[in-house]
Amino acid sequence: MILSTAVAIAEARMGMPGEKYYSGRSRAITERAYIAFKSSTWIMVFSGFVEPVLFLLSFGYGLKDLVGDITVAGQPIGYVAFIAPALLATSAMNGAIYDSTYNVYFKLRHDRIYHGMLATSLGPMDVALGEISWALLRGFSYALGFMTIVAPLGLIPSMWGILAVPAAVLIAFGFASFGMAVTSYMKSYQQLEVINVILLPMFLFSGSFYPLDVFPEWLQTVIRLFPLAHAIDLVRGLTLGNISWALVGHAMYFVVMIVIGLFFTTRRLNALFMR
């Protein structure tokens, strides 16, 4: 039976776990983001995508002869193939961060758009999940776009590399979820700048351009507290075909990030709009 009234649709979910927070319609929020996106400026999309490609061309092809091969798991790897997976992971991150931080902040503080959404039969978790899904879609599309450039160049030596695409989805999901949670606690644009202050060093030091073991032990430990190092290890492991249980560990890092992010975003939206 097709439920056709707002009341029937809401009552069909009565008794479901978490029904006060989640109505199972996060898709409506994602659909809204898509409609808004269709009429937005495409240059914004483009710039986020182009950045990792520029790094690949500039650093990869500029340094490959100077650096020579890099040894990963006992195998010599060309420099461009070494940095390509790192840049793939970074594009997933960039795409996810853009929509889940600045865009969300604007809606939280300046537009009263979440008030409107939460006056309907939606719950805060629908809003959180819907916005995060949209952000991860952007991360996914950046990663996919990057893949279609690097794969034909022979920079994905292993067939396992195909799994780098779902890995990018997981990475984007993690960053989007955590990014939105952090953003929902921010009180000014200045505070939001903190995100950039973390992102750039993370990009530079997480083993994107050289193996992490150039650093002393303690610094490696510190770097591994941050998500990008795990994202890079995960994607690199797949594109180079170095499959091990460690990859599951890296993936789990993002699963935890998704869960924590969703939990806090939902809680915060509830506190902001439903008290």
Partner: protein
Amino acid sequence: MSQSLIHARGLTKKFGDFTAVNGIDFDVVKGESFGLLGPNGAGKSTAMRMIGATSQRTSGELTILDKDPEKFGPQIRAHLGVVPQQDNLDTQLSVTENLYIYGRYFGLNRKFLKGKIEELLAFAQLEEKRNAKVESLSGGMKRRLTIARALVSEPEILMLDEPTTGLDPQARHILWDRLFRLKEDGVTLLITTHFMDEAEQLCDRLVVMDKGSIMAEGSPAQLIKDYSTKEVLEVRFGSERNSQMANDLRQLCERIEELPDRILMYTEDGEELLERVYKKGFHPKTSLVRRSSLEDVFLRLTGRTLVD
């Protein structure tokens, strides 16, 4: 099933030490137009948000369609159309897209919405603006769109928080006309306002609120009858003489209210009172006889005017 759609007893909301709504009791029955009248800060919007299941009460009883909003938030919100005090239209979307996506939030299907949107565009007189961005609409159009959007889910109860604040007189009258039509269609209206004329025009029954409490309840006509006289004589003697004159005028009528710029004299017959004022040898700079309004009721109950 009880008669009332909305039932509140001792409804209270505190924010820390501040009591925004202080133990209010009221019932709203099906098909009526019920108003919360009071100045800014009286607790009207807070009460509306609790009824709208987007704010949790601190104590007291509250049921909407026999359900507790704290337990059945989404189910209750599915019955409601909410028009907030500040427009929260989606500025990134067009008029039609705003209506469409709001329907999607309720889970309504695309086919239903296609027809519904046309109906609502006609109702809100926005057919020519269907593809316009929200930003380009006038204040009155934005309000009408917000009301149309609230109707997309065919709610039983339409909640309007200060529906005409900030609108010019013509836009207000268009809006009132739309609200009358909804009432004729059997939609229950819950309205907050600090405009006495709006309350008199739109509400079958209302409560007068001040500082979180209900001061009085009844139909506009009954409230005026209970708390005021039939007519009011307003006289002005100039700001420095008003207070001195007030003492002399007091004995001439049932009750007087002294405002900074004028004196209000309550009586059954204003013209006759004015004659007596002149006979006593008092010569106000200006005088005006009018019928009592809810403004006078509010003044009587709280000693203050509605719009400061």
